[in-house]
């Protein structure tokens, strides 16, 4: 019988444990990659471009996200063949076709489930999920919350354009109430999800938000996600120029940016409005924006993404009112928790060190046999 490697995970010989976990030159290995082999040579963004023609609409925010993603992947220092991108259905979910690695464009809403099986059985892979607001929050909502609570070592990029694009413009579970679309000519009746609040409610160990138009910020969030062992959830505000153009315009106007965007940095005082404003807790426990100058000393918040209790991060997520008055971006929450795939591998290792590898003949025989003849 052929042998499998230590964790019972299949894989070509070269993806052995010898290379896995090796530190790179500067001594830091991104936390989600401790069991993933390290590339011998540094690749470039172009190495991750597939030969497929990209077919999103002109001006789609997906282009910017794809470019940032491809430019970021070399930073992982992972061989291209050990990166897997899994998506569901929708415009964003076409992304795997454009990335030259292993990929699966699956079925609507199910990418987190498929990625869970892959990541759980193959700790030597860096697994990325690409999804959209309809895919992840409507048809696939159940898989999303369960993948997050299990803390499977997958990185989930949710492209939120607040509309159904591929089916030509119906309202989505993140569309604002009253949205007039083909399926809601008199305005939508649904109250929208706040994806960050939802992920925090599911006890996700890493939750972040970023914007398609800010490549530097987007890349920094991708880096932080890769440096997290376990499930990472990233909401990316993404413009759909055809069916929901300028949905995030308030955050992109040059002068509004400073006023509305709250860039979160762990360990730093939360400041916006060119440094003039900060956040403090109100009497009722909500966060409120105040003038720094007018605030009592010691009442202003310093961002702490590592708090075990998600209440603070949740309060931050509730600042994102429909009118984008105050919109935090960056890492809301990042806490260390054992990842599901790690725990499963540990159970297997523990069972084997306790009683040795399985013996098929002994299993089949059981304890209650009798002889005939």
């Amino acid at each position: 019988m052929p042998e499998t490697n230590g964790h019972g995970a299949p894989g070509p010989g070269k993806a052995g444990a010898g290379k896995a976990g090796a530190g790179n030159g500067d001594g830091h290995r991104l936390a989600s990659l401790t069991l993933v082999p390290r590339a011998a040579t540094r690749s470039a963004a172009k190495d991750f471009k597939s030969d497929q023609e990209v077919r999103w609409c002109p001006g789609c925010g997906d282009y910017a996200i794809l470019a940032a993603f491809q430019a970021f992947l070399p930073e992982l220092e992972v061989p291209r063949e050990n990166i897997v991108v899994i998506s569901g259905i929708g415009c964003s979910s076409r992304l795997p076709y454009y990335v030259n690695s292993y990929g699966m464009h699956s079925i609507h809403g199910r990418a987190p489930a498929i990625a869970t099986g892959l990541a759980t059985s193959r700790p030597d892979l860096s697994v990325w999920v690409i999804t959209g607001d309809g895919d992840a929050l409507s048809i696939g909502g159940n898989h999303l919350i369960h993948a997050l609570r299990r803390n499977v070592n997958i990185k989930i990029l949710l492209f939120n354009n607040r509309i159904y694009g591929l089916t030509k413009g119906q309202y989505s579970p993140t569309s604002e109430r009253g949205k007039v679309t083909k399926s809601t000519p008199f305005g939508s009746l649904d109250h929208p999800f706040n994806p960050v609040s939802l992920a925090l409610g599911a006890d996700a160990s890493f939750v972040a938000r970023t914007i398609d138009s800010d490549r530097r910020h987007l890349t920094s969030v991708l880096r932080a996600a890769a440096d997290h062992q376990g499930a990472a959830f990233i909401e990316i505000y993404q413009n759909c120029p055809i069916f929901n153009d300028d949905a995030f315009a308030p955050l992109k106007e040059a002068d509004a940016t400073a006023e509305r965007l709250i860039k979160l940095e762990h360990g730093e005082p939360v400041r916006f409005g060119a440094g003039s404003k900060g956040l403090r807790f109100s009497r009722h426990g909500e966060l409120e924006a105040v003038e720094v100058a007018a605030a009592e000393e010691g009442t202003l918040i310093t961002h702490d993404a590592h708090r075990a209790d998600p209440s603070y991060a949740f309060a931050l997520s509730r600042l994102d009112a429909a009118d984008f008055r105050h919109t935090p971006v960056g890492v809301f929450r990042k806490v260390e928790q054992p990842s599901y795939d790690q725990l499963m591998a540990e159970q297997i290792d523990a069972a084997r060190s306790r009683s040795g590898p399985g013996d098929l003949a002994a299993l089949l025989a059981g304890n209650d046999t009798w002889e005939v003849g």
Binding site: H7, G8, N82, S106, I107, A113, G117, H143
Partner: protein, 622 residues
Amino acid sequence: MTKQVQKLDHVIIRFAGDSGDGMQLAGDRFTQETAVFGNDLSTMPNFPAEIRAPAGTLAGVSSFQLQFADHDILTPGDAPDVLIAMNPAALKANIKDLPRGRDLIVNTDEFTKRNLTKVGYEGSPLEDNSLEPYNVHAVPITSMTVKALEDYEITRKDAERAKNMFALGMLSWLYDRPAEGTLSFLKAKFATKPEIMAANVAAFRAGWNFGETTEAFSVRYEVKPAPLKPGTYRNISGNTALAYGLVAASQLAGLPLFLGSYPITPASDILHELAKHKRFGVRTFQAEDEISAVGAALGASFGGSLAVTSTSGPGMLLKAETVGLAVSVELPLIVCDIQRAGPSTGMPTKTEQGDLLAAMFGRNGESPVPVIAPASPADCFNAAIEAARIAVKYRTPVILLSDGSLANGSEPWRIPDTDSLPDLSREFAFAEPADPADFGAAGEFEPFRRDPVTLARPWAIPGTPGLEHRIGGIEKADITGTISYDPDNHDRMVRLRQAKIDGIAADLAPVEVDDPDGAARVLVLGWGSTFGSIGAAVRRARNAGHSVAQAHLRHLNPFPPNLADVLRRYDKVLVPEINLGQLALVLRGRFLVDVISYNQVRGLPFRAAELAGVIEDVIGHA
């Protein structure tokens, strides 16, 4: 006192009581004792879906029937020779199945006015002569158990709960069963509760001694061991055999086993069993729903695991879209459907063969999937290995159709020598690492370039340098696998996927026909769990002087290569199914043979005697 010993060639016993009375456990233990004694046997548990229906009601009756014999038998038997009724509800629910003149053991303690009223008895049947046709043994089981346990430091409730062991001890004496196995089982089960352990052992012994001394039983029975093929045997249920088959297939293929599953009756025991076997590197994933369960399995398959999902009918429909994706991306996947009575929730603990057409056709588009079915509880082991063989060799999902009666039924199993099992590692290989130069002018790996013989595409798992590729549910261009909406390409791909599955027929053993005198004009053709009851019915018909042939299908898609010839060799083909004629519909459509369909959907296996009558009718008109 010395008792008369009567020799029997077979006995059918049915234990019946309230769901909380421990009848399944008593039946299981009696089965183990009988197996160790060396009889051939077959069992049929029958219990309500409710965990604890209101005590003493008809809805709460749970029963366990077993047949054992000094010769090889095929079914748990039609009607019991002995019925043990632990309360009035059990009596009322089961008495109609007991033939006149047979033994009825009644726990008289439970025949209180309240319990009688609950099930609509106006007076006690023990006192109104209505049980006169039977050989009644009135035994105050509960009170004798409590009395026997007087000296133990346990509550009265715990003492009463040991009454199933009293009943088991009594039956074990009556049929001369070896008791050692049950005693050591009790010691292990209650290792942490020594008082309860001692009480159960004492209850068992009290039942045994009661049988020996009481005048309630004047005869002790003897059923000699059956002349089984030499070897080492154990008793095994269908779900356990299926789980073991999957572990074996994983070892034989050299692939780690991944099970994605969501709890559902009657499939959950596969998840329970596999969850124990971490030493074999088995990963079990209890998913948030049926869709996630199959999705995770498909993800694991993409990564090179032997991937399995287990479920029952309602779950099958939820998984259908993902099975379709597996058809489209052409990855191995084993889908175990432990069928139960439908539609919808149906009767979760009752058996049926109602999912055949759903397995074959229940997906959108042209979506062919191999379908196989085990014929007996122990055969679930072989069926699992065969499902794995087809899945990894042809890179396709395979549906394995077991059912409730196989899943929970059990029989002696001659434990196979592991060296005799097929080497599945020879049936497939992962695609080897490659250099772009290897791919010629295209310069790209071609994930849909097929093996010319099997038509399987390469199984190129992530982590393999040079084979980076994308797959998905969108139609793919032949060979390159890139997205394609080309009309001719789609037509070609639909036909290629179909040809791959059809081609498996050449790789299957021909269906064997049992036609001992070669004079039969009628063939009885079945599939799945009906093997035992059809076999028993055919024996009856032959014993009555009729010539009749029997064949049983392991492979339902594709069919074995010689099936058309076999069907045309007989004047009449009778197809009994626990559905309304699903295999019959396919046979008629595919072979233009006017098969005769015989159907029951009672949530129970066929009764051999009834089926024998049907066979004789068909022969009479042939």
